[in-house]
């Protein structure tokens, strides 16, 4: 788990660095403080980054919303690692479909969040078996693979 967080934090750093704001990501490594965007919103439900639909099933569909103070770390159009992670968790089913198909809205949105070109979609499709196999965390695997397209 710890390495997962480190990987996410590294990714967040890489993206911010791309935006030439190298001093960004002063997060503590905990999702809620990991940076800009969704990551800096505090969800009332601690499992807010898990499937919202699962939450709906349990009858707790509504997420409360709050924003902590402090300045944001990302520039416009950029996403924190927590935000990307939340996206992959919440869109797990649709994302896996898109990766198998090599195409789709969920995949292109993720590509954009990761700062990858659409070719990254091909890479993911080719590696489908490695990403989605027992004992592997797909989100972690995708994030690790994305490092290659961020130069």
């Amino acid at each position: 788990m710890k390495s997962f967080i480190v990987a996410l934090a590294t990714l967040g750093y890489v993206i911010s660095a791309n935006a030439a704001s190298a001093d960004s990501l002063k997060g503590t490594g905990v999702y809620g403080d990991a940076g800009c965007g969704l990551g800096s919103m505090v969800f009332g439900n601690k499992e807010g980054i898990v499937q919202v639909v699962a939450a709906t099933l349990n009858g707790t569909g509504m997420q409360t919303f709050g924003i902590t103070s402090g300045t944001s770390n990302c520039g416009p159009g950029l996403f924190s690692s927590a935000e990307i992670n939340s996206f992959m968790q919440s869109n797990a089913v649709a994302l896996e479909n898109d990766i198998a198909r090599g195409q789709g809205e969920t995949l292109s949105t993720l590509n954009n969040m990761l700062g990858c070109s659409s070719q990254f979609g091909d890479t993911l499709q080719k590696n489908y078996k490695n990403i989605y196999s027992p004992g592997i965390n797909p989100a972690q695997k995708i994030v690790a693979m994305a490092e290659s397209c961020q130069g």
């Binding site: 919202v52 709050g66 103070s69 944001s72 159009g77 869109n91 198909r101 969920t106």
Partner: protein, 635 residues
């Protein structure tokens, strides 16, 4: 005098002048505000959600104390305006958030009020440091707004009439200038669930005793929940707000996020509150003033269309079911037949063997959507079919190559903005057991199986709030014939891909010549049933039913209860302006004097235009005949 003394004196003098000037400005603005009755300005009333009170004066529907700066602000727009002006001028007062975690200056808690008052007064108030509000704007990156309608969901009474919310659209991506809607944010207003008990929940919802609050989530949450999990279409209506108006809406949403209202299922519901937010940004909009006594989410889409130039482009986001059907239509005849085979035997190899790669891709893509549509719960919970679906995905990934972009056809047949009104008046004439009646009826919502399908679920009937009165032409007796609190008939056509049963449920007050009534009498009825439906020639729905009926009345002879069950048949044909429906129901009672009850009926509807229909109905109940003709007006 020392140099230091001089400095102190100078500074005090400066401060004195500075503050008195500020005070002068404040009192001048206050004078103007009072002289010109700013508190009666429509935008001020809208900003604080004031409504004229029944006994005169105003009352705000905001239920949180921190929404008001004046102690009597809830009912006094004038005092609230003065308090707001003073607080913004002085810029010293801070407010604590409801959860007690944050404390912000007044100007940061009420940025919309500040914007409006600055414009009205033609001055600038001091700008406090608004860290949290600025961050909120940074996260949203608001560029434009879209009104989203999520279509009907019969399996949950709370969403039976659909749902609407607002999408806050982000700026195009900094990397490639494209728009990624999934990364936008959705702003909705919903009841805060205080009870799991559906009866308590319904009662609280209808009576307005349940708190309601705004919520904000990434748009992908909404897409996954509505499109994929509940299989509901999303209709997206771009709104033509200027950047300045968008800024106002965002500021106002921020003000409301920490405020509670009372949620009213029929009136001040999700759609109403979102419209009230839009009105704040553009004074000329009149969205909530002329709303019907009950607010149907689909009707509010038409309300937006009535405002000149407010709606821009329309987008359609198909449900997982619509996506599957579209992919299926794109297959060759051979491919279709193989997919039907796959739905029966679940053999991937059989489905794709000997096909060209491009056809294999099409088949596997369609199979994936089929599994998602039919087993959405299992797949999400990673049970049974989830494992099987993995095989399909693996086969598809191994095949490689990107699928062609799915061309989304806007299912015009269900476009909510084209739909007939959800309310109805009816006038007519009836001959019944050799007696004659004039008829008057009204229905609050929503749609029945004889109404034109355009804009509604094509195989469902939902009635909530129906009253039918009759006047006996000889005795001049005026009587209540029928009152329906709730009725749903959901026909679910069976085919290779759908195994859901049809169902019906009704709770009503009825009147008739039941055999153990003396003449005409009234009874309370709770009835339901489940059935199997097949659709042929795309417009003819044939169903077999097993139905159960419970009736009670003090006017029944002997026992006051009748409980019976029996088989039923129905045939319904509905195409464009014409619809016909025939039904038979044979009921065998466990209680009551006469144990057998046979009912057959035939209804015909001719839709003259969007607002008018002619309807004929003939029925035979045991040996009693009924014939009636009605003119129906929809609005």
């Amino acid at each position: 005098m020392t140099k230091k003394g001089l400095t102190v004196m100078g500074l005090s003098l400066f401060l004195l002048i500075f503050f008195s000037e500020q005070k002068a400005m404040a009192s001048e603005v206050l004078d103007r505000a009072q002289r010109e009755h700013w508190f009666e300005d429509r935008q001020w009333l809208r900003l604080v959600q004031y409504h004229p009170h029944f006994f005169g004066g105003y009352k705000s529907s905001g239920e949180s104390d921190k929404f008001f700066l004046a102690p009597k602000g809830k009912s006094r727009p004038d005092l609230e305006l003065t308090a707001t002006l003073l607080a913004l001028q002085e810029n010293t007062r801070t407010l604590r958030s409801q959860d007690g975690r944050f404390e912000d200056p007044v100007g940061c808690v009420f940025p919309a009020r500040k914007l409006w008052l600055e414009k009205k007064a033609g001055i600038k108030f001091p700008n406090p440091q608004c860290e949290r509000f600025n961050r909120f704007k940074e996260i949203l990156q608001p560029q434009s707004l879209t009104y989203v309608f999520s279509s009907y969901y019969l399996n949950n009474p709370a969403s039976a009439f659909g749902h609407t919310f607002l999408r806050v659209n982000k700026a195009p991506s900094a990397i490639n200038g494209e728009r990624f809607e999934l990364a936008d944010y959705g702003v909705g207003y919903a009841a805060v669930k205080t009870s799991e008990n559906p009866f308590v929940y319904s009662f609280l919802g209808v009576s307005g005793l349940m708190p309601g609050a705004f919520d904000i989530n990434p748009y992908y949450y909404k897409v996954r929940e509505y499109n994929d999990f509940e299989s509901r279409d999303l209709w997206e209506y771009d709104l033509t707000f200027t950047p300045e108006e968008v800024e106002m809406v965002i500021a106002y949403i921020w003000e409301l996020l920490d405020v509670n209202f009372n949620y009213h299922y029929f009136t001040e519901n999700c759609s109403y509150r979102i419209l009230s937010v839009l009105e704040v940004a553009r004074p000329s909009l009149e969205l909530t003033d002329h709303l019907k006594s009950q607010v149907m989410p689909a009707d509010t889409v038409q309300t937006l269309f009535q405002q000149q130039g407010l709606v821009g482009r329309i987008h359609f986001r198909p449900s997982i079911r619509a996506t599957f059907e579209q992919r299926y239509r794109g297959l060759s005849d051979e491919g279709k037949s193989r997919l039907r085979g796959f739905a029966r035997n679940e053999s991937i190899a059989e489905m794709i063997q000997d096909l060209e790669p491009v056809e294999k891709r099409g088949s596997l893509d369609t199979a994936m959507d089929y599994l998602d549509y039919r087993y959405s719960k299992e797949i999400l919970r990673k049970e049974e079919k989830y494992i099987f679906k993995k095989d399909v995905l693996r086969a598809r990934a191994e095949l490689g190559g990107a699928s062609a972009l799915l061309k989304l056809s806007t299912a015009e047949s269900e476009a909510p903005h084209e739909a007939q009104g959800s309310r109805r008046w009816g006038f007519g004439y009836r001959e019944w057991n050799k007696r004659n009646f004039y008829l008057l009826e009204m229905k609050a919502a929503l749609h029945d199986l004889l109404d034109p399908k355009l804009g509604y679920p094509p195989t469902a009937e939902i009635t909530m709030g129906y009253l039918g009165l009759s006047l006996d032409s000889t005795s001049q007796e005026l009587a209540l014939d029928r009152a329906i609190l709730y009725e749903v008939v959901s026909l679910s056509p069976l085919n290779d891909f759908n195994r859901d049963v049809s169902w019906r449920l009704k709770f009503s007050l009825e009147r008739g010549f039941e055999n153990n009534c003396l003449g005409l009498c009234r009874w309370t009825e709770l009835s339901g049933g489940s059935g199997l439906t097949t659709t042929v020639w795309s417009d003819l729905d044939l169903s077999v039913w097993l139905r159960l009926t419970t009736q009670t009345s003090t006017d029944f002879q002997g026992d006051t209860w009748r409980i019976g069950a029996g088989p039923g048949l129905s045939a319904r044909w509905n195409r464009n302006a014409w619809a016909v429906m025939a039904e038979i129901y044979d009921r065998y009672d466990y209680k009551g004097l006469n144990p057998e009850f046979r009912q057959s009926s035939l209804g015909i509807n001719w839709s003259l235009n969007k607002n008018l229909s002619l309807r004929f109905r003939g029925a035979e109940e045991n040996s009693l005949r009924l014939m009636e003709a009605r003119l129906l007006y929809y609005y």
